[in-house]
């Protein structure tokens, strides 16, 4: 017949498993344990719970990932130190875009930029109101709305509620609420808009994090490439480039990574670009890797670039290096 274990004894059993009993308590508890099968069973259950928990939460941090986090942290702390604290970020974005556009660019960079512009311009005017998206007032064409001058702000009210829907409050001449799923075209448009235009880096980060969860698609790729090339916030650039790692790596992405590796001031972002380049050998990457292996300010990136270069060169078959 099974005995009921009192709460007090349960507590002792827990202390026994956790190693909290004093020597005298331990002796007396073990005396009870030797004659009580139910108590033995309870101890086993506690022990199994702990073992299973340790297995379930086992996590080995990857050195590369840690290095990337350290570099990102270094960037953030440098930013804190130099106290380059923000003039209104909207101005910042325009300024950085202006600098980006007026800086002398190699021909391939200009081509990338034009391709991105064409893709985005094709994307924006498509009529996209769908049933899946609820708008609280009259039907609104999101594209028209995004292009209109009376758009004041977009607030992300709920980044994913229990049924997986995202809720935006769009402040225009008439305020409207827009709710939909992550892969709904309207929601994607708003996320692209936030990522590329919002002056609040927190919102841009939120947008890029949500895009990370959506299925890879060509429009998102263009927006992410644009964000990783032009966003003023290293966190947004880093997140964008990390998402792009899940995409099929196109020449567009490689070209953007080359630019980042040569020009981005943030080491974590450069490291991610290097990782993409390393995993997709192309002939055009060789001179860039040569430069980075000698010139990069960061010793880790320099060493990684040298290793990649070495491994490219040691590729058994020179044809293994993809030439496009």
């Amino acid at each position: 017949m099974s005995k009921v274990i009192s709460d007090q004894l349960k507590e002792k059993a827990f202390e026994y498993v956790t190693g909290l009993l004093s020597e005298s308590e331990l002796t007396s508890f073990e005396g009870i344990l030797s004659t009580n099968e139910e108590l033995k069973k309870l101890i086993n259950e506690y022990q199994s719970t702990l073992n299973a928990s340790r297995d379930a939460f086992a996590f080995a941090s990857d050195e590369k990932e840690l290095q990337s986090q350290r570099l990102l942290l270094r960037g953030r702390i440098d930013q804190l130190n130099t106290q380059k604290n923000e003039m209104p970020s909207f101005v910042n974005i325009l300024e950085s875009l202006r600098r980006f556009l007026t800086a002398p660019q190699p021909a391939w960079a200009v081509i990338i930029y034009m391709v991105i512009a064409v893709i985005i311009s094709k994307m924006i005017p498509v009529p996209i109101f769908e049933n899946a998206v609820q708008v609280n007032k009259q039907s609104v064409n999101i594209s028209d709305l995004l292009q209109s001058n009376d758009l004041k702000s977009i607030k992300l009210i709920n980044s994913q509620n229990k049924d997986g829907r995202i809720h935006f409050a769009v402040e225009t001449g008439n305020d409207i609420d827009i709710t939909g799923r992550l892969n709904d075209e309207n929601i994607q448009q708003l996320l692209f808009y936030l990522l590329l235009n919002d002056d609040n880096p927190g919102k841009r980060l939120k947008a890029v994090r949500l895009l990370q969860e959506s299925a890879p698609q060509i429009e998102a790729q263009a927006v992410l490439v644009s964000a990783m090339l032009t966003d003023t916030n290293p966190g947004v650039r880093l997140r964008s480039i990390k998402i792009l790692k899940n995409y099929e790596i196109s020449e567009l992405i490689i070209n953007a990574c080359i630019k980042i590796l040569l020009e981005d001031e943030n080491e974590a972002v450069r490291q991610q670009a290097l990782e993409i380049i390393s995993n997709h050998p192309m002939e055009k990457s060789l001179p860039v890797l040569q430069i980075v292996s000698v010139m990069d300010e960061n010793e880790y990136i320099k060493a990684q670039a040298a290793m990649t270069l070495q491994s490219f060169r040691e590729s058994v078959d020179p044809d293994a290096i993809e030439v496009k």
Binding site: E11, F57, R70, L73
Partner: protein
């Protein structure tokens, strides 16, 4: 605490960020593991890592060598995690991949790797614990910390830590017993 670490802390307190980065490199592996255990996914864990170390950098001048540097970092990490979760629950953010409904997810025999199924059930059971019980459970059983240190990190009495641990353990055991995993 070794002399080297003491010196690095002193240098960091005097504004030497290079020393701070050395401290990060010496301690961050454990902090990343803790962050992963405290948060529900890797992405949030990375955010927690960043936030915790930025806070540590901003506050290192207040470190008085009264506890180990680890305990101090753990305290910052745990508090930052609790704040982040509070904000997330306010925003109703749920990462869909982490949602686990035991009813919906009852595996067909032989269809799913039992080990991963157990892991998901454990995580789901842990997620149902009140936040402080969950934190105490993680610090004690996954991080192998002493009750005294947990008490300092969570800023609660040792008796309260034990109470949280007992309640957490009992809930986990009962919930997992229902799934016949223990």
């Amino acid at each position: 605490m070794t002399d080297k670490i003491k010196q690095l802390i002193i240098d960091a307190q005097n504004g030497d960020s290079y020393s701070f980065h050395q401290l990060v490199a010496l301690h961050d592996e454990k902090i990343m593991v803790l962050a992963y255990q405290l948060m529900k996914n890797k992405q949030d864990a990375e955010d927690l890592y960043q936030e915790a170390f930025v806070k540590a950098y901003k506050n290192i001048r207040f470190f008085r060598f009264e506890s180990s540097f680890y305990t101090w970092l753990y305290r910052i990490t745990v508090n930052t995690a609790l704040n982040m979760k509070r904000k997330m629950s306010h925003m109703h953010t749920q990462e869909p991949i982490e949602n686990y409904d035991p009813i919906e997810n009852i595996p067909e025999p032989g269809s799913v790797n039992k080990h991963s199924e157990i892991n998901r059930a454990i995580k789901a059971a842990a997620d149902e614990l009140p936040e402080k019980q969950r934190t105490a459970f993680i610090l004690k059983y996954l991080q192998n910390m002493k009750i005294k240190d947990i008490s300092a990190i969570m800023d609660i009495g040792e008796g309260t830590v034990k109470k949280y641990l007992f309640r957490a353990m009992e809930k986990m055991r009962r919930q997992l017993k229902e799934y016949r995993y223990v």
